[in-house]
Symmetry: C2
Subunit: 278 residues, 2 copies
Amino acid sequence: MEELRGKEVVEAIQSECLSFVQKEACLPTLAVLRVGEKEADMSYERSIKKRFQDFGLEVKDYHLEENCSNQEFQEVFRFLNEDPEIDGILVFRPLPPQIDEEEMLSVMKKEKDVDGVTSSNLAGLLLQDPDAFAPCTAEAVMELCKYYKIPLSGKEVCIIGRSLVVGKPLSVLMLNADATVTVCHSKTENSKEVAKRADVLVVAIGKAKAIGSSYSKEGATVIDVGINVDADGNLCGDVDYDTMKTVAEKLTPVPGGLGAVTTAVLAKHVVKAYQLLH
Amino acid sequence: MEELRGKEVVEAIQSECLSFVQKEACLPTLAVLRVGEKEADMSYERSIKKRFQDFGLEVKDYHLEENCSNQEFQEVFRFLNEDPEIDGILVFRPLPPQIDEEEMLSVMKKEKDVDGVTSSNLAGLLLQDPDAFAPCTAEAVMELCKYYKIPLSGKEVCIIGRSLVVGKPLSVLMLNADATVTVCHSKTENSKEVAKRADVLVVAIGKAKAIGSSYSKEGATVIDVGINVDADGNLCGDVDYDTMKTVAEKLTPVPGGLGAVTTAVLAKHVVKAYQLLH
């Protein structure tokens, strides 16, 4: 079994970003906008700030109180959206209920939407718009497949999970890459049988170790998008690694798999945003 | 074998539209904008004008010369887009090369986009926005399934074809209806085998009689989206009806199947546009 580690993918993306930044002598900048103090948000923010240095990028962080007013939020957001020194904007979601997310999305510049949350970027996936940003996690799966030269054209790809941030956009990206794509979800009647047909199985359901070897055929490539904490407090994926490794030919570990690639894709998007805006 | 005829579906949609129009004593109006004189466009236009009367709706048609300027086109389009007497706009595409389609799409009101071509309506499919318009042909498949009570939740639906007007949007609509969705296309390696797994097989590839009984399991529902002309000059679908009827349990004929449902869905969208705008 070959372990598909994220580290090498991250290094490849990093060297692409660094070479652009050094050649252009520029400093593409991401604004991170956080409302409140959710631990998951703060942890992702720390990891972005730490890693972006290695990519030659700047991060500016903006924090608002959990109970800030909608007006206050929209003013900060519009400032970042207009500021020529900001290339990309990442807003942690879900936002508190008093914040009008639609108002934010309706004004957000497509070019600064580096996490692919606006309608124009979502539609861009279907339209195969080369300037559109896909949600970072979905694109991280594509980057991993590209780096490890996983054949996709004409192959059967099964995605378990149909969320707006992974399953749905990934199904479009995989279709655009000429894969034969099946999306499974909680209502699927025979999901083991369906998943077993896949040459490439992608799991994104957010349930610790829920998908074991009975979901994969011998020799498949299995990509685990999940990041969960197990009963012992350790990080784990949606895939039960220990049983899956007995049937899969290629498999991403958690931790050490897709997580860091997602942050690297965010960095790549900030560089692309800089290019689109300049 | 049960024939899934379009006529009954059209009548159901028609009586819905008529009852709204009569209750509200209103006249929802579609503007049809055609550039040039393509026979396929003119034929669809005639059929819309004829059928919309029966739905209690008005059609206003606007024609421009094939060689009209982009400025001329955009002026007419903006006039219709702003005119409070126009509820929906249908523009025949593709447009001649001198017309800037993106300019048109960027200003088009989401509420008037009754054929679901703008980014906000395409994204609305992924976002499950109840006010979004899906492309009429894709939604016609859903209406047909609804009318004939074809089970979709948890069932395997295979769509052959991945166009922007049918395959891609339909895959999202089917996923939103809790089907387990597979999309096949020209690059799919084993398309017969894949198609044979389907409880519901939808064919939208635009090739006369290309899909025969070897693509369907016994007892499947087969929906033929194609409208082609065969070697003898007769209308036919993408499905080879004569062989398919020996294995499929339910099958749409061509003509007499989905075509008229698409026009009925357009009518339903014009009524919905009227509701959104008023």
